[in-house]
């Protein structure tokens, strides 16, 4: 049998550092290890002894791309321990902040990280030379997402305005009103993006996934709901640890998470569409219908389109909130600490993000557990890679490598989050 080994120093266009080892023997892919050697930072350890009010700002630093997922997961967990329910205008403002993050993160991933794979460019800057209008549109949409985060959170990366119980300062109604025109433009731009991206060639690949997402009775779930899967899982957030478990494997500084029975869970936009298409806002539902994504898809490469549909949703939802928001009297609900354990789970752009904390009666953290979405998706990325590599063995090594990278980017993996240098090696013998 012939043997070829290819080493590529860095897997690009992902957040964080990791590596992929593919072992091919003859015409069979024997092994695909998605390695994460982003050095561990030990958040769950140094959170012990910190005040419960510090958890949102500290855990935000797990990820600069989706800090809101950490801010909100920590807030919800603390509020559940302290018996506080944040509702009304405060809840709406949190949802607006989170929509800002979905827009910023989804548009970054679609236009700058993933689309260059489909169009055959090394990056979005090279892509901009021939697809200038598309890239400019993406940048403008992204800017609006960031502006929403600045409006509600104080700044786009690591917002300062979020606290347990609500916000530090409430924006004025008039500040929200200035967003109406931009959001209306963004909604149309997102719809146009769905139509444009639908014309791409999507690699043919399907897998029967076990999708898991939050589901809410009334809305497309972001911060609240039950954990629901397409194979009958339906549990409350505090029961998370009863369905998913973590393992530490030698090739990854990110703990790997899977269902207790060893089955691999798929989180993120395709999972959310699989579980929650009937909760989409009207224009987002229309967008999903136009590209056959109602009920999701078993082709992970179509996650690009799923993000576009969710971007339509995020603009539409933001517009609704901005037009109807009633400014509450107080920026936050008073929260008094008490001893206990509680959890919070929200839909980060790349999938479910889980927090669980225990507090003592002074409100100091005695235990913390945080499961980033990429920790869960890591296992499914590995199995996709086995299948994608197997189906594309006729490609030369460079093309095969690129296709594998594209398959990894289907999951918009945030390696900083999940742990814990991406080096891609293909070992063919």
């Amino acid at each position: 049998m012939s043997r070829r080994t290819i080493a590529v120093d860095t897997l690009a266009r992902v957040e964080g550092e990791g590596a992929l080892d593919l072992v091919i023997r003859g015409d069979k892919v024997e092994k695909a290890d998605f390695r994460i050697f982003e050095p561990p930072r030990f958040f769950e350890a140094f959170l012990r002894g910190r005040d419960f009010r510090e958890a949102p700002d500290i855990t935000a630093r797990i990820c600069g791309i989706c800090p809101v997922a950490y801010l909100m997961g920590a807030c919800h967990a603390m509020e559940s321990i302290c018996g506080v329910n944040v509702d009304g205008g405060l809840r709406e403002l949190r949802r607006l902040l989170y929509c800002g993050e979905w827009i910023e993160s989804h548009v970054l991933h679609m236009f700058m990280l993933h689309l260059p794979d489909f169009l055959g460019y090394e990056d979005s800057i090279a892509m901009a030379k021939e697809h200038g209008e598309l890239v400019q549109r993406g940048l403008r949409m992204k800017k609006i997402g960031n502006a929403l985060m600045t409006l509600t959170g104080g700044r786009e990366i690591h917002p300062v305005n979020v606290k347990v119980g609500g916000f530090y300062r409430l924006p004025e109604q008039s500040e929200l009103a200035t967003f109406v025109d931009d959001l209306a433009w963004g909604l149309e731009a997102a719809e146009q993006t769905v139509a444009d991206l639908a014309k791409l060639d999507f690699p043919e690949f399907e897998h029967d996934y076990h999708f898991l997402a939050l589901r809410h009775p009334d809305e497309y779930a972001i911060t609240e709901g039950r954990l629901v899967s397409n194979r009958g899982v339906d549990v409350s957030i505090p029961e998370y640890d009863d369905i998913l478990t973590e393992h530490h494997v030698e090739h990854s500084n990110s703990l790997q998470s899977e269902f207790l029975d060893g089955e691999r869970a798929h989180l993120g936009p395709l999972a959310r569409l699989a579980i929650n298409s009937d909760r989409l806002t009207p224009r987002a539902l229309k967008a999903a219908e136009s590209v056959g994504l109602v009920g999701g898809s078993n082709n992970p490469f179509r996650s690009l389109l799923a993000r576009a549909v969710e971007t339509v949703f995020a603009f539409e939802e933001s517009l609704r909130i901005v037009e109807n928001w009633q400014r509450p009297d107080a920026p936050a609900i008073e929260v008094t600490p008490r001893a206990g354990t509680g959890s919070g789970c929200t839909e980060a752009p790349r999938g479910l993000c889980y927090h669980r904390y225990s507090l003592d009666d002074e409100g100091l953290i005695t235990d913390a557990k945080i499961v980033a979405p990429t920790s869960v998706n890591q296992r499914i990325i590995e199995s996709d890679l086995m299948h994608v590599a197997q189906a594309n063995l006729d490609l030369d090594d460079e093309a095969l490598k690129w296709r594998c990278e594209q398959a990894i980017r289907n999951y918009d993996p945030c390696i900083s989050c999940s742990a814990h240098f991406l080096k891609l090696t293909i070992d063919r013998r």
Binding site: E17, P40, A45, I58, G64, K143, C417
Partner: protein, 262 residues
């Protein structure tokens, strides 16, 4: 005549959250202009393309926390004419430097089932502890306008103009009501380097020191004031032990207070 060569820009990542390098991609209005003025020679978060060194300007995000990274930073320095550290992790060690006052083996056992799989040093240290750094941009995250003006200055061969005063002065300039004087809210503004625009006080909360200590910081005086406001030693220690816990002024003051209460 040959076209003049464009300067080569490289962006490197060590232990971090990616937020500071994301600041560059968050310059939506200027990104394509920046990309036109430089060759983005190495920036894995944004591109697969890699141009060989040496690099005219290297932006380095993240702290050094592993033996592997301690070696890698040496290689980055060798390939870089100017090395600029960006953000709290690279300039002080970041939030992960909380391990420096703890037992890292204990940390590893808390989070991981197999600590023996890990390559983790006992400390998280700033890049300047390992190699010569030409310029530092502070912040958790950095301010993107400061990043843009710095890159623009460096491309023209000038030293960038960066603040050397405290957040307190920024507050006065913005006309913010002092959260400490008016509400008794603990605030690190008097000892923290300006650059954020006094963001936290503007949002009616105390500064949490994400730009690290100002050059003239006198944390001892601030701690005394915070104690008068009813803050316990432990609370003040936690305030300094945030995103710049290992910056000397904050580290030494928190160590002094911790020793006092021990």
């Amino acid at each position: 005549m040959a076209k003049p060569r464009k300067p080569k820009l490289a962006v490197w990542k060590f232990a971090s959250c990616d937020g500071c390098q994301l600041s560059l991609l968050d310059c939506e209005d200027e990104l394509l202009a920046v990309a036109g003025a430089v060759d983005i020679a190495y920036f894995p978060e944004a591109t697969r393309a890699v141009l060989p060194g040496p690099y005219d300007v290297s932006l380095v995000e993240g702290s050094v926390t592993s033996a592997h990274d301690a070696k890698r930073i040496q290689a980055v320095r060798k390939q870089s004419k100017l090395l600029v550290t960006i953000g709290a992790c690279a300039t002080s060690g970041g939030i992960q430097a909380l391990r420096n006052v703890a037992d890292v083996a204990d940390y590893a056992r808390t989070v991981y089932a197999h600590p023996e799989y890990l390559d983790a040093l006992a400390t998280s240290t700033p890049v300047a502890d390992h190699v010569t750094v030409d310029l530092e941009l502070r912040g958790c995250p950095i301010d993107k306008h400061q990043l843009l003006s710095t890159v623009a200055s460096l491309l023209r061969g000038r030293a960038p103009v960066l603040p050397d005063h405290s957040v307190c002065e920024e507050c006065k300039r913005h006309g913010n009501t002092c959260v400490t004087v008016a509400h008794g809210t603990p605030c690190l503004g008097p000892v923290t380097l300006a650059g954020c625009g006094a963001l936290c006080p503007k949002h009616q909360r105390g500064c949490y020191g994400c730009f690290g200590p100002a050059p003239t910081a006198n944390p001892g005086a601030l701690s005394a004031r915070l104690a008068e406001l009813g803050q316990s030693n432990q609370q003040i220690v936690r305030l300094y032990r945030g995103f710049n816990a290992n910056a000397p002024a904050f580290r030494d003051e928190s160590a002094r207070l911790a020793k006092e209460s021990a």
